[in-house]
């Protein structure tokens, strides 16, 4: 993996290495980062707690793209985006936790446990999230005992769907820990709890992180499906604006930009985390 920032400055022919400084001490990292954070903060502060995605101005009908109108939509878009992001984060928390349980279940030596788990994982993985969300909605509506907000249905739907993917990633991560590590744990007579928490999981996590990160970003891109449940997310925003003002260009472009604005930092943060957690692999 190559360093994303130059570590040394070219000084004539001679490459002079400066000692490694922590990222927060490097102006070439900190200044752009502060600018970006300021922009995000400014955008977030503009978000209003309106009850609906209602625009206060109309675009000039003569133009295909009206910048004033575009800027005007930004706070509305962010309100939707925050809802989508919240659903993603909560859903992914469910997925990461439930996925680990599923992975353990599937790896269990007890067939009565491992087979149903494997079947459930395959079933959920091979059916579309959209269908699952409709099904969950129908399920919630048909039972009086279960009254969930649309956003909760989305969280659980995303959570369960991505849990199956996460479980496969966990399983691969666990299997990637060399057999000798299990044997060493036996030779030291470590109990199952210690073996898992101190030996296996710490070594499996770095292997799993890239996959989990991909699922987080993929889940974020799937979260707008909450539209069909009535979750006031970012797609809901774009559709509402189009319906009210008959302007499709600005809101949809803005929605796309919104996704980028969250995906890119997430991917960047994840890369950093991966590098930090990676350790030198021996034997």
């Amino acid at each position: 993996m190559s360093a994303p920032w130059p570590r040394g400055a070219v000084d004539g022919d001679h490459l002079s290495y400066r000692p490694h400084r922590r990222w927060f001490r490097r102006p070439d990292v900190v200044v752009p980062l502060l600018v970006i954070v300021a922009v995000y903060a400014y955008l977030l502060l503009g978000v209003e707690e309106t009850s609906f995605f209602r625009t206060r101005m109309t675009a000039k009908g003569t133009e295909h793209f009206d910048w004033m109108y575009f800027w005007h939509l930004v706070p509305l878009m962010w309100r939707g985006l925050l809802v989508t992001a919240k659903a993603t984060v909560m859903g992914f928390t469910i997925a990461a936790t439930l996925g680990f349980v599923l992975a353990l279940g599937r790896r269990s030596r007890l067939r009565i446990l491992s087979w149903p788990t494997a079947a459930a994982i395959e079933f959920v993985r091979s059916t579309p999230l959209l269908v699952q969300l409709f099904f969950a909605q129908a399920l919630v509506r048909s039972t009086d005992a279960l009254s969930l907000e649309p956003i909760s249905i989305l969280m659980v739907g995303l959570g369960v769907h991505y849990a199956t993917y996460c479980s496969e990633a966990y399983r691969a991560g666990i299997d990637s820990v060399p057999k000798g590590q299990w044997e060493a744990a036996t030779a030291l007579n470590l109990g199952p709890a210690t073996t898992w928490s101190r030996v296996i999981v710490p070594q499996a996590v770095p292997n799993v992180l890239p996959a989990l990160g991909n699922f987080l970003v993929a889940g974020f891109k799937d979260a707008p499906l909450g539209f069909i449940l009535g979750v006031p997310g970012v797609l809901f925003f774009a559709n509402t604006v189009r319906g009210e003002d008959f302007r499709p260009t600005e809101p949809y472009i803005l929605a796309g930009i919104g996704f980028l604005m969250l995906s890119l930092p997430a991917a960047w943060a994840l890369r950093r985390l991966e590098r930090r957690i990676a350790y030198e692999r021996t034997d």
């Binding site: 060399p178 000798g180 007579n189 710490p202 070594q203 021996t282």
Partner: protein
């Protein structure tokens, strides 16, 4: 700060004093001392390949047994069966007089529950050919893990004891380094210290020098010599270091096709083998 002493030449010289000969112990179990290992009718097959055939083996407390034999003869499998890394298909294993795979219910033996196996296994530990250190922990953390988690020692006490053990293997200065920063010989010495931290009554050594560069073998053998000299643990070693075997072993077992084909004092088995197969094997080992 004590630098590790240069291990010197690989071949253990005759100047090195032999291990203390006072290992004969009448009692089966001395208080937390070395324990006996008794195998009866142990059979283990991998598929159709029968690795151990109806094997009987007695190792007395404090005894140092070196197992030699051609590859695939089942010598490593014996250690793995005793360490519970492989379950035998038939037979019994007793360590310190207690059944490892069985529990007594009145007169009959029943397959042991996991709890019982763990209980008996706490007397045994094993050092591996490929070290199997935990790469995400420093040397001292590797050594401390079992005392803290298994024996429930306070961390400070475990750390002090761990540092003592690292000192003993000449690696106190490397306590905070991770396995990736250590050489093969150093890794194996940390692995030995980690095993010693379990206060074992039986130590199994599975070709512990086979994965090392020749110049690093000596430092590991020196540590093994120290452990042998203390005599507080039963040692079973699978090794190809014949010079070392001659020096340290109370008994050498020649293994072939799942059987002990010859056993006796090192001088007898290594110098005057009675079996053709032993002669052929030793000839092949000493040839290079």
């Amino acid at each position: 700060m004590s630098a590790p002493t240069d291990p010197g030449p690989t071949d253990p010289g005759p100047t090195d004093p032999g291990p203390a000969a006072s290992t004969s112990s009448e009692t089966e179990v001395s208080a937390r001392g070395a324990a006996s290992v008794r195998l009866r009718g142990v059979t283990k097959a991998f598929g159709t390949n029968v690795v151990l055939r109806d094997l009987d083996l007695d190792v007395e407390p404090g005894e140092r047994v070196v197992i030699i034999g051609p590859s695939g003869s089942g010598k490593t499998t014996i250690l793995r069966v005793i360490m519970t890394l492989e379950r035998p298909d038939a037979g019994t294993v007793r360590v310190g007089g207690r059944h490892l795979y069985h529990e007594r219910h009145g007169d009959d033996l029943r397959p042991a529950r996991e709890r019982h196996v763990r209980e008996v296994r706490s007397d045994i530990t094993m050092v591996f050919q490929h070290f199997n250190l935990f790469p995400h922990m420093s040397a001292i953390e590797n050594v401390m893990l079992a005392p803290v988690k298994v024996h429930r020692r306070p961390r400070s006490e475990a750390r002090a004891k761990g540092m003592e053990l690292l000192e003993k293997v000449g690696l106190a200065h490397a306590a905070n380094q991770t396995p990736g920063q250590l050489s093969g010989g150093q890794k194996q010495r940390v692995a030995i210290a980690r095993s010693l931290a379990c206060e074992p009554r039986v130590m199994l050594f599975d070709e512990v020098t086979s994965a090392l560069d020749p110049e690093l073998i000596g430092e590991v053998l020196n540590v093994l010599r120290d452990i042998a000299a203390e005599g507080s643990t039963t040692m079973m070693l699978v090794t190809h270091e014949m010079g070392f075997a001659r020096e340290v072993a109370d008994r050498v077992l020649m293994f072939d096709e799942g059987h002990v084909i010859e056993a006796g004092k090192p001088s007898q088995v290594l110098d005057n083998p009675g079996e053709d197969r032993t002669r052929a094997f030793l000839g092949a080992v000493f040839e290079h």
